[in-house]
């Protein structure tokens, strides 16, 4: 076999790819579900934390900063493994799926809270004062005056961070989550041919490609016009 043929045989082996397409498709669907759960719960928690922090309670702010710094500092894989192998000792036996979801959602919440909070801080004090001076409540001001401006600034770093962390779903392969990478690796072992990995890469591209494009569009759409 020539070098080129060898490459085709190893990485683009259609026979092997066809054989493992169903399992990788299943992994794809599972990854989509996992990603959707992480993004929805992570961003919702981030917003909630940023709002709580804006209340100005010292105790609350301290607790939030502690949470944020902890989850930004520790590698997500360590946390996933810790949950998966540690919690059973405490009587809980969460699945690898749940462990991966919870950890990545918390990590996303930590990073995203900082981004949203920075956005809130960047809104001039005058906006608060103007709104409050017309009789608007704290929460109406936050929700309708401050957050729209804060999120507009935050949206680009937020989408980037969301994509980066959601790609961490691949870490689930370590704790028996049958997501794309796990299925592809299994395929490689069984067939002794790396082509399933190529298929896996394509599956990631199909999943995250549109997200990256969406991020680009959002960035352009929300470019500050002042």
């Amino acid at each position: 076999m020539s070098g080129w043929e060898l490459f085709l045989f190893s990485f683009l082996n259609l026979r092997v790819m066809a054989e493992y397409l169903p399992s990788i498709a299943a992994g794809f669907l599972l990854t989509v579900q996992l990603a959707a759960l992480i993004i929805a719960s992570g961003l919702a928690l981030a917003l909630l934390l940023a709002v709580l922090r804006s209340l100005g309670s010292l105790v609350l702010s301290f607790a939030i900063v502690l949470f944020v710094d902890l989850f930004r500092a520790i590698p997500p894989l360590v946390l996933i493994v810790l949950l998966y192998f540690g919690l059973p000792n405490l009587g809980f036996t969460p699945s690898g799926f749940v462990c991966t979801w919870v950890v990545l959602a918390l990590v996303l919440a930590a990073f995203a809270e900082e981004i949203v909070w920075a956005g809130i801080l960047s809104v001039p004090k005058g906006q608060w004062e103007a709104a409050r001076s017309t009789g608007l409540s704290f929460f109406t001001t936050l929700r309708c005056v401050v957050l729209p401006q804060a999120l507009r600034l935050a949206i680009a770093p937020l989408t980037n961070r969301t994509i980066a962390i959601t790609k961490g779903t691949a870490l689930g392969s370590v704790v028996a989550v049958s997501e794309i990478l796990a299925q592809a690796s299994a395929g490689v072992s069984f067939s002794s041919n790396p082509s399933p990995l190529t298929l896996g890469a394509l599956a990631y591209l199909v999943l995250f490609g549109p997200m990256v494009l969406l991020a680009r569009r959002i960035e352009r759409r929300f470019a500050w016009r002042h």
Partner: protein, 247 residues
């Protein structure tokens, strides 16, 4: 001035940490009166205005606004603020809302008007400040003078009992100052009670009932403009007036 006071502030003290910013200020503003406040930078003019609607919490003192105890705990501050309009040096329009949206927002959320009614009232407030044709413009598309007039419309639309102006023209290019002062004159002629912190002495000459000179957190002198400027009693006011002439 026989009409009852709209604002009655007594012995207002305000400190930021060790810094005493207001040191026993009394301010009584009668209905339909225009009180003009002058004083050097840092003398506490803005802080005094901001105490009147509790954007700043006085350290001690009493404020009655439109018959309501402003500083009492049980006072619904949001209901009160609606009746005390405020205009800021830096306009502070909401950049993500149109001029109409800026004016209509509190009408919907605070007064509780329905969208159509709020927008109708917002449009007449914009017409009042000469910006009927800019209803759909965003703040970024307006000049500073136009933005400040939208800000005035935003406050006036709530039909306040008194309007507070904190250096409303200081951030404007000189050629835009006139348009804002004209709107203020017009409000004045409509009988609006006003407290104005400003350096626009022409405006004071034309519209002020009373001028109040502040320095170091106290009211040093007050009275009709001619008395104050014609025969200043204190050295501090004399020094301040000299510093004005130099500009």
């Amino acid at each position: 001035m026989l009409s009852r006071p709209i604002i009655e502030a007594r012995a207002i003290h305000k400190s930021f940490g060790p810094l005493k910013v207001l040191d026993g200020v009394d301010l009584v503003v009668a209905e339909r009166e225009l009180v003009f406040i002058i004083g050097p930078s840092g003398s506490g003019k803005s802080t005094l205005l901001r105490c009147l609607n509790r954007l700043e919490e006085p350290t001690s003192g009493h404020i009655v606004g439109d018959g309501i105890d402003v500083l009492a705990r049980r006072t619904d501050i949001n209901a009160l603020r609606r009746r005390i309009g405020m205009v800021f040096q830096s306009f502070n329009l909401y950049p993500h809302m149109t001029a109409l949206g800026n004016v209509a927002f509190a009408l919907r959320r605070v007064v509780g008007l329905r969208r159509r009614d709020a927008e109708e009232r917002a449009r007449s407030a914009l017409a009042l400040v000469g910006l009927a044709d800019k209803a759909d413009a965003y703040p970024a598309q307006l000049s500073g003078g136009q933005q400040q007039r939208v800000a005035i419309a935003r406050a006036v639309a709530l039909e306040p009992r008194v309007m507070l102006f904190d250096e409303p023209t200081s951030a404007l290019d000189p050629e835009l100052v006139g348009s804002v002062l004209r709107v203020m004159r017009q409000l004045r002629e409509g009988g609006m009670t006003m407290v104005v912190v400003s350096h626009e002495m022409e405006f004071a000459r034309a519209a002020a009932d009373r001028v109040l000179f502040m320095d170091g957190g106290r009211v040093i002198e007050q009275g009709p403009l001619d008395c104050l400027f014609g025969a200043p009693k204190s050295d501090r006011l004399r020094a301040f007036l000299r510093s004005l002439e130099r500009h």
